[in-house]
């Protein structure tokens, strides 16, 4: 470094004399900033602070705009402005001066200018563009310090569109002799990769060079890029595993210079980074994992110094060992390591141990057994965060046998917890567990009641929704359904009789719905009683109008002749003059329907939840309205995920009130098939899901030697015995039982009588960890669960797509308003014409079921299990049969398929035929064929069974593509062992580098249930690109018209001929572009996406590269095309 300084000093000799007050200036406490800070510190009230700061800001404002202010003073002013902004007072007037300071200042002044810019502005601020020239100049400076500063600010923030302007300069710096410059250049490229990945695609090989840099700092910097790259595509970097392993080996072995040590541990953060990378590479990959066993072992061994940082490394190591392909020896050591963590008296280590354990039990639940007593202790820990982490751990090991105890513990925590966020999270988990493992009806209803009471109104709306959905859909047994509903009615009636004022609104809504729907099940319960209880809710001051409308809705369902009518009349009179239009509407409904029992029976049929509901999910009846609105200039509809994306971009750190931060993650969660409908599982689900995915096909512990035995309190228990214990929900069992249990444990460490509190803990342990030891195979949460789920959803309509289910489950949220639509029409009609509008009534019963069974057809069933589970025995369920069929049919299939290509397409070039999906019967493959003005997707449906299948329905959809069927009808048929072919013509709606189609094939045997399989097909946008023949003049006029553009430098291909011509001819050949003209150093090229959607390209040779400028009327098309050009040239 010292020579950097030297060089700098020689570069700026005059500077030395400029500053008359060396060093000491920065320490001056009598400076203005010093005064300000002291002033602020002495203040006591917020109001005084505000006054002082405003004064300060006025004074700063005055001075920055004065022409006499020197750069040194400006620097000081900027620091003060930074201080004011830090305290939350905007000083936007100083932003432009910060940029000026960065531009005109020298040395520290310049640095402070850059610093102020990076603190004041965000990435999308328009002023940032003004910084580009300064950065450009500094990058070319001979003063290394200035280059350093420029690179630092670039790696913090830079306008995305301007990257091409500085990219060559930054790339150049990768070869700089000074390590600090190379390191910062790598970090700048990392930043570019983060904000515009395709801009740096062509320099991937330079990253490799950085990884092999002789300086450890540069290598470390490159790891950031690699971690990111590998996270996105682990397959692409497997070859680097050996390099990472070698690096880690050297670091662990202490080969780095001493100054990289931190408390005599060699480069700990580097080690952690490397372990994370290895973790990603070794996941689900045995051969790659094998490469790293040795170094992992060494890492575990070397980390012996008793210091926090070694434990941080160990934690990462353990995580890695449990993520990659398992090796028993290492697992054993890692388990021991976790033991050291959780048993540590240091609380931070204990926390980390619990976190590690939480991660690991998903792989090996038995590990929890080993530490059961520690876990129990942690449950009672005075520190809430430890408790919380322990509950998280228990959540992961919950099964049907310990659910009551674990849920008990969670509810206990919830009652004392004050933090809303934790409540929301935990309430969701309890609801999920209750739904999954409930041992009986009573427990389920009671637990859910607690959930609703504790969760209150902050709870995710999904929880009550899915609870109601569960109640209304019922399970496989009618009798069970009845009992459950009856019990719910019972307990809610008694709740209302107690103190309904204390219950949260959401819960009251649930109660009213349940009572409205099911109170008829209790025969001895007078309708009148229920109505009065409900009416009492209406009178309460605390009841919100939303709840009131639920109550009125319930009353509408109940008011049936007799005493009911009088209550109804009373209520409807009160509310028909309400200021709230919704309530008035409800009151009207109540009034009318209570008088007309025939109409009521049609509008609100009892027990309608069982019939599937026809829902026009596309809302096509609104099309006319929408197009009118659009024509009138309304903004087009944006789907929620798009809106959320935009929202998420706007604010990355979630500071919204609690509710809002969750729905954002929700969308990501909905994509992966959620096992539980409980929305709130997301917060855990986020980690849970990813882990789930990670080892669904991954860690197989079957063959691994189990070194830890079944010691612990339930060690010897047999499964039968366990189920007996479940019946005792309380962790405290009677002494006689204890004796019995104790006797059976020959492995209990001591036989001496244990003191009373200890005994309690042991009992708790046995009830918590029940069922863990008995399972021989690893199965937890969402994987093959041995105990049948109590509340397994019924398969109502397997054909419903997941998209539809999304919509419908939303509709449940506003259940009353579903009815609204039709009731509205109805009642209005009847109002105006004062006679029931018979014609509109016809649609009523259908729609009204929306209330009861808005979710009737939206079950989120796993399509696979559905197919497997219910497939008729017609086709051989027998795997042997399938195996026999497979071999002799495999080879000719491809040939067979390509011979099935329609005659008009057979002459054209088609892509490789790729398999899409298959089940026992159908085997789908597809390819795409490029026609001159179209792209045709050909789907082959091969029927591998002996029987014929009529009615094969193939549906395709895509966000980016327009799909139209070319065949006569969408319905196909396939005789046994033959192929049906469907053709679709594709055109691009929204360009994207890769476009994807999703589809579903559904079919039915003459006998048997309908089946469906989903698939997706991905193709590059380049398949849609066609040459466009235009003249240079036409090109000129078009060029000016197009609004979307992108610029970038691409590498030239230097064959023996002229480089520009060579490069363009490569592009012409690979991407079917049309070269319009080449004049000297410039060339113009044109192409189009199928018939329309042109894209123009302008190339100019400049300093050994080709500056490419793409323009098109279609957004995103230039970016995509740039990507393909880059790829094409790279491949060449």
């Amino acid at each position: 470094m010292s020579d950097v300084v030297e060089k700098t000093l020689t570069a700026l000799p005059g500077l030395l004399s400029l500053d008359s007050q060396p060093g000491s200036t920065k320490l001056s406490s009598s400076s203005k900033l010093g005064n300000l800070i002291r002033g602020i510190t002495e203040l006591t009230s917020k109001h005084e602070e505000e006054k002082l700061i405003q004064l300060e800001l006025t004074s700063i404002k005055e001075q920055v705009s004065s022409p006499n202010t020197s750069m040194r003073q400006m620097k000081e002013l900027m620091v003060r402005a930074i201080y004011c902004e830090m305290l939350g007072y905007e000083s936007s007037f100083s932003y432009i001066h910060a940029i000026k300071l960065a531009q005109q200042g020298t040395a520290l002044e310049k640095r402070v200018g850059y610093l102020a810019v990076s603190l004041f502005l965000n990435e999308s601020h328009e002023l940032l563009l003004l910084l580009v020239n300064t950065v450009l100049k500094d990058l070319q400076s001979t003063n290394l310090i200035e280059v350093c500063m420029a690179l630092t600010v670039v790696s913090q923030m830079f306008p995305k569109d301007m990257i091409p302007a500085i990219l060559p300069l930054v790339e150049e710096k990768l070869n700089h002799p000074k390590e600090i410059i190379r390191r910062k250049a790598v970090l700048a490229l990392y930043k570019f990769y983060l904000i515009a990945p395709n801009q740096v695609q062509h320099i991937h090989n330079k990253f490799r060079k950085a990884l092999c840099d002789k300086d450890p700092g540069v290598m470390t910097a490159s790891l950031h890029i690699y971690l990111q790259l590998i996270e996105e595509n682990p397959e692409g970097y497997k070859d680097l595993t050996t390099s990472f392993v070698t690096i880690l080996k050297q670091v662990v072995g202490g080969k780095l210079p001493m100054d990289f040590n931190y408390h005599s541990v060699p480069a700990p953060w580097l080690q952690i980074q490397l372990l994370r990378i290895l973790c990603l590479l070794g996941k689900n990959d045995q051969s790659t994992s094998e490469i790293m066993y040795e170094v992992l072992d060494e890492s575990l061994r070397r980390a012996e110094i008793n210091h926090n940082i070694t434990y941080a490394i160990l934690f990462e190591c353990v995580k890695c060992i449990y993520t990659i392909h398992p090796k028993s020896e290492l697992l054993e050591k890692a388990a021991k390591c976790i033991g050291n963590f959780v048993l540590s008296p240091k609380i931070n280590l204990k926390y980390l141990g619990l976190k590690a354990l939480t991660y690991v039990v998903q792989q090996d639940p038995k590990l929890a057994l080993q530490h059961q007593m520690t876990i129990i202790e942690c449950l009672d820990h005075p520190d809430l965060i430890i408790k919380r982490e322990t509950l998280e751990l228990l959540f992961r090991i919950t099964n049907a046998q310990n659910v009551t105890v674990i849920v008990d513990k969670m509810l206990e925590f919830l009652r004392v917890n004050k933090d809303d966020y934790t409540t929301i999270d935990l309430v969701g988990k309890v609801a999920e567990l209750a739904e999954k493992y409930a041992p009986d009806n009573e427990w389920f209803i009671e637990t859910m009641s607690t959930v609703f009471s504790v969760g209150g109104d902050t709870m995710q709306p999904d929880i009550p929704n899915s609870f109601l959905k569960l109640l209304s859909e019922g399970f496989d047994s009618m009798e069970e359904d009845r009992k459950l509903r009856l019990f719910a009615v019972d307990s809610y009636v008694s709740l209302l009789q107690e103190e309904p004022g204390k219950l949260p609104q959401r819960f009251l809504q649930v109660i009213s719905w349940v009572l409205g729907e099911y109170s008829y099940l209790r025969e001895d319960l007078e309708v009148d009683t229920v109505l009065r209880l409900l009416a009492k809710l209406l009178d309460m001051k605390t009841t919100s109008s939303e709840t009131k409308s639920w109550v009125l809705m319930a009353m509408t369902k109940l008011c049936e002749g007799g005493a009911g009518v009088s209550v109804a009349r009373e209520v409807s009179e009160t509310y028909s003059s309400s200021l709230d239009t919704v309530l008035r509407q409800r009151a009207q409904e109540l009034q009318h329907l209570s008088q007309d029992s025939e109409m009521r029976a049609r509008v609100l049929p009892r027990n309608a939840g069982l019939d599937p509901l026809e829902v026009d999910s596309s809302l096509s009846f609104l099309d006319g309205f929408v197009s009118e609105a659009l024509a009138a200039g309304a903004a087009p509809y944006k789907p929620p995920h798009q809106r959320q994306e935009e929202l998420a971009q706007a604010k990355a750190l979630s500071l919204e009130p609690y509710g809002l931060s969750l729905p954002i993650s929700m969308s990501s969660c909905c994509i992966t098939d959620r096992q539980s409908p409980t929305l709130l599982s997301i917060s855990s689900g986020l980690s849970g899901n990813s882990n789930d995915l990670s080892y669904r096909g991954g860690l197989k512990l079957d063959g691994v030697k189990r070194v830890w035995g079944r010691e612990g309190y339930l060690a010897q228990r047999e499964p039968v015995e366990e189920s007996a214990h479940v019946e005792v929900p309380s962790p405290l069992r009677s002494p006689s039982q204890q004796g019995g249990a104790g006797g059976s444990h020959s492995h209990t460490p001591t036989h001496t009588p244990t003191p009373e509190p200890e005994l309690e803990k042991q009992q708790l342990a046995s009830s918590l960890f029940v069922g863990l030891a008995s399972q021989s195979s690893v199965c937890l949460m969402g994987k093959s669960e041995p105990t049948p789920q109590r509340f397994r959803r019924k398969a109502n309509s397997p054909a419903s797509s997941s998209a539809a289910s999304e919509k419908q489950s939303n509709s449940m949220v506003s259940a009353p308003s579903t009815v609204d639509n039709l009731m509205f029409n109805n009642l209005l009609d009847s109002h105006i014409t004062s006679e029931p509008a018979v014609s509109s009534l016809e649609q009523t019963p259908q729609l009204s079921q929306g209330l009861v069974a808005a979710n009737g057809s939206c079950d989120e069933e796993l399509p696979d299990s559905d197919v497997n589970g219910s497939s008729p025995s017609l086709i051989g369920d027998d795997p042997v049969v399938a195996a026999e069929l497979a071999p002799h049919e495999e080879p000719p299939k491809d040939l067979l398929l390509s011979s099935c290509l329609p005659a008009e397409l057979s002459g054209l070039s088609h892509s490789e035929i790729t398999p899409l999906c298959s089940d026992q019967i159908l085997d789908l493959s597809a390819c795409h064929v490029q026609k001159e003005d179209a792209l045709v997707l050909v789907v082959f449906i091969y029927n591998s069974s002996d029987s014929d299948i009529q009615q094969i329905l193939l549906e395709l959809d895509s966000e980016e593509l327009e799909v139209s069927c070319e065949s006569d009808s969408a319905v196909q048929e396939a005789t046994g062992h033959s192929v049906a072919v469907c053709q679709y013509s594709l055109s691009v709606k929204r360009p994207s580098v890769h476009v994807e189609l999703v589809g579903m094939v559904s079919y039915q045997f003459p006998v048997g249930t309908p089946q469906s399989v989903q698939f997706s097909y991905k193709l590059p946008l380049s398949s849609f690109i066609r040459p466009m023949t235009v003249s240079t003049e036409e090109y000129g006029t078009m060029w000016l018209d197009f609004s979307h553009d992108t610029k970038q430098n691409l590498t030239l291909i230097s064959d023996d001929q002229e480089p520009l011509t060579a490069t363009l001819s490569v592009l012409k050949k690979k991407l079917q572009l049309h070269v319009v003209e080449i004049i000297g150093m410039e060339g113009i090229v044109a192409c189009r996406l199928l018939q329309d959607q042109p894209c123009l390209m302008h190339c100019r040779m400049h300093a050994g590269t080709m500056a490419v400028w793409l323009r098109s009327p279609v957004p995103d098309l230039p970016d995509c095309l740039m990507y393909f050009c880059q790829r094409a040239l790279q491949e060449h």
Binding site: V4, D19, L115, H224, I347
Partner: protein
């Protein structure tokens, strides 16, 4: 990933804040107050990590000064905890060296009797006139932090390398 770094005193006044993900100015004060409340209410023997909304806070106390780092759940809390200490050591190294150059900083007896870290506490905390260097050098602390953390990732931990650019700048001024 690291979301922000805060330095606050026991009165809850922010001494330094650096966000690695954009947070609106208007929201920062509330967030900081919340975060400080979370950490100040905790006892010495409690865990140094706190759950806060959907992320975690890692905090470390140096006398009356708290350094709080907001991290995502996937981050290794203990490594961040040590990163904070590394940061403090770097500051310590820089400012103790600087202080020796300072003429007006000759009355060191109070601090000289303290250990290195105590010196730092005093610097931040007691607000005696000669101990405010770090606070008065907000810009330099930021420059140091910029060398260590970028985009929410740890980019340099080697003490001499972290300080190299700043020392070079100082030499240019001298």
């Amino acid at each position: 990933m690291i979301k922000f770094v805060l330095m606050v005193n026991r009165q809850g006044q922010t001494r330094l804040s650096r966000y690695f993900q954009p947070v609106e100015l208007s929201r920062r004060a509330a967030l900081e107050a919340d975060v400080v409340r979370c950490c100040l209410s905790r006892k010495k023997d409690q865990c140094s990590f706190v759950e806060y909304k959907d992320y975690k806070l890692v905090y470390r106390q140096y006398a009356a000064l708290y350094i709080v780092v907001g991290v995502t759940d996937s981050e290794n809390e203990l490594s961040v905890y040590e990163l904070v200490h590394n940061f403090v050591e770097v500051l310590d190294k820089y400012f103790s060296r600087v202080s020796e150059l300072d003429v007006s900083f000759n009355n060191r007896p109070i601090t000289a009797s303290l250990s290195e870290h105590d010196f730092l506490f005093v610097t931040f905390v007691s607000l005696t006139p000669h101990c405010l260097q770090i606070m008065f050098n907000l810009d330099r602390v930021h420059i140091i932090l910029d060398e260590m953390i970028q985009n929410g990732h740890v980019v340099e931990t080697n003490r001499s390398r972290v300080l190299a650019p700043l020392t070079a700048l100082d030499k240019m001024v001298d």
